[in-house]
């Protein structure tokens, strides 16, 4: 029956003989020309200067003293230190611990008030956004990123989804997302005004909202937009909103992957603080992905 026992070797030889790289120069040249006019897909970097909660400052100070006294060296070059009384270790391993245990993965900045980069264990996780402690629940498959993102599936693909938990809520949208020109005059300071500005973002189609919502017992707004297929720039250069605390309109902006991506924004008013969470799904996404994202938002609890 098995007339070709050496099929594997035959296939290996065939593929290796067939592998040619002709055209590589053309490919490289064309790709680099395209890259020269294309931005990268990034979510906002977190500011290092953002104000920290008092307890976090105290904990960080205590941790620093302990480190200096016991180890005698500075262990905080980029992501050492911690919030919530963590004890830094000489070799922090981002992502090694999937749980948000405060002592498991020390970090020095407000980013530490978010689950450390790596897979999230299914269940509830804690975060501090703009000094406001909260928790949310995830199903299996979510991974925390280093920019206060959590993602599932393949970013930019139909099974993908991405949340950004802003550590400082955006203040404005771009009046011209391709030209990176802020909306002028700014929309105003209320959640309603900001949600309305999102709903009118040029180059997008309104999916639904703005709608008054309640999240974790606090009032807010929800609005969903879809990136149009005919925007005037590469989608990586299609900037949506920004906040002054992360550097203003050229410092901390939000862009994303793919024409046809749907972004839902939740703006929550928590005792005078405004929080901003946005979640993105991509062209062809199954409705179940959106439902899972909404489930996560619905799970948010404030202390």
């Amino acid at each position: 029956m098995n007339a070709r026992p050496d099929l594997e070797r035959e296939v290996t030889d065939w593929l290796n003989d067939e592998a040619v790289t002709a055209g590589s120069d053309r490919v490289l040249a064309a790709a680099l020309v395209r890259v020269s006019g294309v931005g990268q897909e990034r979510t906002p970097r977190l500011p290092r200067s953002i104000e920290m909660p008092t307890y976090a400052k105290l904990a960080l100070g205590v941790a620093a003293v302990v480190v200096v006294a016991v180890v005698g060296i500075n262990l905080l070059p980029g992501r050492g230190g911690g919030i919530g009384g963590s004890t830094p270790t000489p070799s922090p391993s981002p992502g090694a611990s999937p749980s948000p245990s405060p002592g498991a993965s020390p970090s020095p900045s407000p980013a530490a008030a978010f689950p450390p980069p790596g897979p999230l264990t299914p269940g509830r996780h804690e975060a501090v956004l703009d000094g406001v402690p909260l928790s949310f629940q995830v199903r299996p498959g979510w991974v925390a990123d280093e920019y206060n993102d959590i993602n599932r599936g393949e970013y930019g693909q139909s099974d993908g989804a991405s949340f950004v938990f802003w550590d400082s809520a955006p203040d404005n949208v771009y009046g011209d997302p391709c030209a990176h020109a802020p909306l002028s005059p700014p929309p105003g300071d209320s959640s309603e005004a900001l949600a309305a500005a999102v709903s009118r973002l040029p180059g997008t189609d309104l999916v639904d909202g703005p709608t008054a919502v309640t999240i974790g017992g606090h009032p807010g707004q929800s609005v969903a937009i879809r990136v149009a297929d005919d925007i005037d720039c590469d989608v990586g250069d299609f900037w949506r909103w920004y906040d002054d605390a992360t550097g203003g309109p050229t410092g901390g902006w939000r862009n994303g992957a793919g024409l046809g991506a749907t972004i839902r924004v939740w703006i929550i008013d928590v005792d005078g603080k405004r929080l901003w969470i946005d979640g993105e799904t991509f062209a062809g996404a199954d409705s179940a992905v959106g439902e899972e994202m909404q489930e996560l938002i619905d799970s948010i609890q404030f202390e």
Binding site: L28, Q40, E154, A257
Partner: protein, 191 residues
């Protein structure tokens, strides 16, 4: 060993710099990867023009999505995944006119060399009948030498799916080489 270590460190450094928006670093990185990308794309797509388009698209997607790469040491696998997706996209474009480019095959007369050539033509025909997903697994396994577990991780699919794709593809190639040249009936067993 020290040289290899330095080369690895330099590459990681390039990836890290490109990830943070350094276009020059990306240019160096792309220059180092493009031959391999083109070769893999050609093997999967069996069409030089589509392969060049796929490789080019993969490099552009790589640039755009690099900030999303969480572990720079997994760059290779991450890039292969992008390439396979780009190849799949190009393949969809191809389907519209694929029916017009089927190779006419006439069985050879006699002789070992002629038989070997004939076998490769049959492999070619059998391989072309496979989906891009199946071809990708075969190419990653037999050309790059990746184990199926690593292919699964690279493509973001369960190991069982990678294995079933591989076994289906190899059965199809075996069938292509048989006198009857029939395809196996079963497509894929979910993991």
């Amino acid at each position: 060993v020290a040289g290899a270590s330095t080369a690895v460190e330099m590459r990681v450094d390039l990836v890290e710099r490109a990830r943070h928006g350094d276009r020059e670093a990306f240019g160096q990185l792309a220059g180092a990867e493009v031959d391999r990308l083109v070769a893999i794309a050609r093997l999967i797509l069996r069409d030089p023009d589509l392969a060049e388009d796929a490789a080019q698209e993969a490099l552009v997607r790589c640039w755009r999505q690099l900030p999303r790469l969480r572990d720079v040491e997994r760059f290779d696998g991450w890039l292969y995944r992008i390439l396979v997706h780009a190849a799949a996209d190009e393949s969809k474009r191809r389907r519209r006119f694929e029916a017009t480019v089927q190779i006419a095959y006439a069985p050879p007369e006699t002789g070992d060399d002629v038989e070997a050539i004939a076998d490769r033509q049959l492999l070619e025909q059998g391989f072309r009948r496979l989906s891009v997903d199946h071809r990708a697994v075969v190419v990653l396994h037999h050309y790059l030498g990746l184990p199926l577990t690593e292919i699964a991780a690279t493509l973001g699919i369960p190991t069982g799916t990678a294995k079933s794709r591989y076994h289906y593809a190899m059965s199809a190639l075996r069938a292509a080489l048989d006198a009857e040249g029939r395809m196996p009936v079963r497509e894929e067993v979910p993991a």
